[in-house]
Symmetry: C2
Subunit: 242 residues, 2 copies
Amino acid sequence: MMSPQAPDLSRRERRAIVLLSGGLDSSTALAIAVEQGYAPYALSFRYGQRHERELAAAQAVARHFGCVEHKVIDLDLRAFGGSALTDDAIDVPLDRDETTLASGIPVTYVPARNLIFLSIATAYAEVTGADDIFLGITEIDYSGYPDCRPEFLDAFAEVARLGTKAGTEDSRTLRFHAPLITLSKAEIVREGTRLGVSWELTWSCYAGGEQACGRCDSCQLRLKGFAEAGLSDPLPYAETDA
Amino acid sequence: MMSPQAPDLSRRERRAIVLLSGGLDSSTALAIAVEQGYAPYALSFRYGQRHERELAAAQAVARHFGCVEHKVIDLDLRAFGGSALTDDAIDVPLDRDETTLASGIPVTYVPARNLIFLSIATAYAEVTGADDIFLGITEIDYSGYPDCRPEFLDAFAEVARLGTKAGTEDSRTLRFHAPLITLSKAEIVREGTRLGVSWELTWSCYAGGEQACGRCDSCQLRLKGFAEAGLSDPLPYAETDA
């Protein structure tokens, strides 16, 4: 089933790359790019995350919004490890309270992940002729990741301009859009709902089980977002002994 | 056989990541890192380049200089194409004259390559605890690539500082070193020779044959460098009909 936002390509010329993990934020960023009239080219990564479930989610969401292309790039960040998401020796933290959630950089931080993903998105933009790159980072409820801050994105735009052929061409200007950057999770849930994101297609859980765990930072932030938006998350969650 | 510069690890604590393609420039950059007393961690990419010959060269050079580790990361830039090095539909240019060599960005430019490679090197640095990253870019004889300019590297250092955990820690400062950036190819050949680079282990050719072609931009710049340095390149070159 196509969503109301599925692109009519005959009317579109402006292309955008959308970094799509298949989670709540990136799915909403895609919905926003579509609403703004871009022909979306989705980009996901098989980077050694704990499960492939989020890639299946990304594929379903890309299809839902009628992406022109969806590239899934293999990049083994397990070669370095250093994160609970890419190193089995580091456990995904569960049941952290709100104070802990809001303090410091958690072990789920993947070294230089957004730097790497944006760099590869820049390559994709150069080749497709897309001047616009969307990503779903947010500095509110952002789990403490340094690569989700606006000053990081501004600096990235500068290095992409200097380090690419597209950036040196007068006819092109690479623009990086983080439309969720000042939104809370509740606001993202409302915005995504308004734009027709099918939440049951998305996946946020870090833990890698059959069902979302409801206990990792990502599940907790998601559930809090739905609760504060006054909406219910259609995703089934694993029953816990708690 | 170990080179005279092989590190004595018991005396070393400072670690450096060295981007190592196995060519003349990156091999010399590695030699310089070793001379400066760093324990080197080499990083190479299987990114869809036309042949694996340069990866074998990188391995041989890493061994020669006693690298503590040598990671080879798979990253399929052929998924995007857009370069003579990653797209079989685009021919590697041969026999270009000096004026053409010095003008514009050639078709061997790989979209956002150094941006991507530096981003992944930053991840590797975060995980190993290396604060220093070496790369062999040079703005002289640089084939017109925008990602070989000093302003690009300065901007990258800034984005790496802002977008990483290491960059936010008071105890760490990520530093990016491009020791060849103002050197001509002849000066690089002299410096590498002084530091014990075994040129017969290195590989520069873009064309992907059994022997170096001697005709692509990379071979031409290399041969010119050896000639101007008054040295002979020990690498065998394919005989041509010319």
